[in-house]
Amino acid sequence: MTTRVDPGFMKKVKGLGDQNMEMCFNCSKCTAICPMDTNLLPRSLFRYALLGMTDKIKAEQESIYSCLLCKLCEESCPRGVKIADNVRLLRSYLNRDVFNI
C-alpha cells in the first residue's frame, strides 16, 4: 500500500491560523475524556497533518467535524495543545482546499 504525503501541507495549515499540533506527545489523555467517544484520536489526526498525509485527513472528515470544540480535552492536556483550535484549522483546510467553500 502506498501512502502519499504532501510536504507542504503544514505550511498551508499554518497559513490559515495559529496552531500547535507539534506540541502533542501522543499521551491520549484527550481521547480518554472526549464526550464524543470518537473513533479517531486527536493525536492521530495531528500526526497525519504533521506528516502531510492529506488522504488520511480527507478520509477522516467525519471525525474532524464531529469534534464539539468543547475544550474538555484541553483542561487535562499536559502539553497545552490547543486541540479545538487545531481541529478547527483542519476544517478550514477542508473547506478551502477540498470542498471549495
Binding site: 490559515l16 491560523g17 464526550p35 464524543m36 472528515q61 467525519e62 467535524y65 464531529s66 464539539l68 470544540l69 468543547c70 475544550k71 474538555l72 484541553e74 483542561e75 478547527r88 484549522l89 483542519l90 476544517r91 478550514s92 483546510y93 477542508l94 473547506n95 478551502r96 470542498f99 467553500i101
Partner: protein, 319 residues
C-alpha cells in the same frame, strides 16, 4: 459523508446571501423587545446576535436532518444546496414550534428586565442586531465569518456603540475573543448579561430558595471564564445549587455543537449529560440556547430545563 460539505455550504450561503445561517424575518427577530421601549443604539446595547431567536428554526432543521440522517436521501442534499442559492430552502421545513418561539422570546425579555432592574442603561439595534457568525466560525468557514465580522463591526460603529451586553455564550465568545483576533481594529467592550448582573450587585426581591442543578456551557466556562457569576446570583436568592459530576471548568458538553451535522451523535452526548444532571436534581438550569435545545431533546424522564434568565427572574423580578 456528503452532508458535511452540503450542509456547511447551505449554512455559509445563507449567511452570505441572507445575513444569517438560518434566516428569520425581522419581525420574528425583534418581537421580544416589542413592549420594552428600548432606544435604538447608544453607547451600550443589548446584543442578541439572534441566537435565541433562531433556535426554534434550528430545532426544525435538526428534526428534518434526523429523518434523513444515514439514509439514501442524504445523497440528494447537493440539490438542496444548489436550490438554496436561489431560494431559502429552510422555509420548506415548515414553521417553528410556536411555544418554543414564545419561550425563547420571553427569555430575552427577562434578560432585558433583569438588566434594567440592575440599573443598567442600554439600547437595542432591532433589525441591525446581526448574527455574529458563531456556527460558520466553528465549521471553519473563515472567509464568510470574517466578512460577517466586518459587517457587524461597521454596524456597531454606525450606531455609536462602545459597549455590548451579550445574551449567550457563543456570541460573547465571537465578539470578545474571535473578533479581536480576526479584526484587530475591533475595540468594543463585551460582557455577558450574567457578568453585568453580578458586577452590578443585583439583589433579589425574595430569597424563597429552591434547588436546581446547574449546567455550565463549555463556552462560558472554558472559553470565557464565566463560572462564579451565575452561582453568585443563585446563592443570593437562597437557591441550593447542585453541581453535577463534571461541572465548572470541567463541565461536560451538551452535545449541541454537533447537531447541525450529526443529530444522532448530538443526542447521544446530550443523554450522557442529562444522566449526570438528573442524578442531582429534576430541575436543570442552562445558560445557552444551544444547550437548552439539545438537553431538552435528550431529556427522557420529565426533567425540567429552564434558561438561567427565566429561573432567576422568579427571585429577582416582580411577577
Amino acid at each position: 459523508m456528503a452532508q458535511i460539505k452540503e450542509v456547511t455550504k447551505i449554512l455559509v450561503d445563507n449567511l452570505k446571501l441572507r445575513g444569517s445561517v438560518l434566516p428569520i424575518s425581522q419581525e420574528a427577530a425583534t418581537k421580544w423587545a416589542k413592549d420594552l421601549n428600548l432606544p435604538k443604539g447608544g453607547d451600550t446595547i443589548l446584543y442578541t446576535g439572534n441566537m435565541y431567536q433562531i433556535i426554534p428554526y434550528i430545532n426544525k432543521l435538526v428534526k428534518t436532518l434526523e429523518l434523513f440522517e444515514g439514509t439514501f436521501f442524504m445523497n440528494f442534499t447537493v440539490f438542496g444546496r444548489m436550490a438554496n442559492r436561489f431560494v431559502n430552502v429552510s422555509k420548506f421545513m415548515g414553521g417553528p414550534n410556536k411555544e418554543e418561539v414564545k419561550t425563547f422570546n420571553n427569555t430575552l425579555t427577562n434578560m432585558a428586565k433583569l438588566l434594567q432592574k440592575s440599573g443598567s442603561k442600554f439600547g437595542y439595534l432591532y433589525e441591525d442586531d446581526l448574527y455574529a457568525g458563531a456556527l460558520t466560525y466553528d465549521l471553519g468557514a473563515d472567509d464568510v465569518t470574517l466578512a460577517q465580522a466586518k459587517k457587524v463591526y461597521e454596524n456597531l460603529k454606525k450606531h455609536g456603540v462602545k459597549r455590548v451586553i451579550t445574551v449567550d455564550p457563543h456570541t460573547t465568545h465571537m465578539l470578545r475573543e474571535v473578533y479581536p483576533k480576526i479584526l484587530p481594529e475591533f475595540d468594543i467592550v463585551v460582557k455577558s448579561y450574567i457578568e453585568v448582573l453580578a458586577k452590578r450587585g443585583l439583589n433579589p426581591l425574595n430569597n424563597k430558595g429552591g434547588e436546581v442543578a446547574i449546567h455550565d456551557s463549555c463556552v462560558y466556562a472554558r472559553h470565557e471564564n464565566v463560572v462564579g457569576e451565575p452561582r453568585e446570583l443563585l446563592s443570593k436568592a437562597g437557591v441550593n445549587v447542585k453541581e453535577p459530576f463534571e461541572s465548572k471548568k470541567i463541565t461536560f458538553c451538551c452535545g449541541g455543537p454537533a447537531e447541525s451535522l450529526f443529530p444522532s451523535k448530538a443526542l447521544e452526548v446530550g443523554k450522557k449529560r442529562m444522566a449526570q444532571l438528573c442524578k442531582e436534581c429534576d430541575h436543570v438550569t442552562v445558560m445557552c440556547p444551544i444547550c437548552n435545545a439539545n438537553l431538552k431533546r435528550s431529556a427522557t424522564n420529565g426533567t425540567k430545563i429552564t434558561d438561567f434568565a427565566d429561573y432567576i427572574s422568579e427571585f429577582y423580578l416582580e411577577n
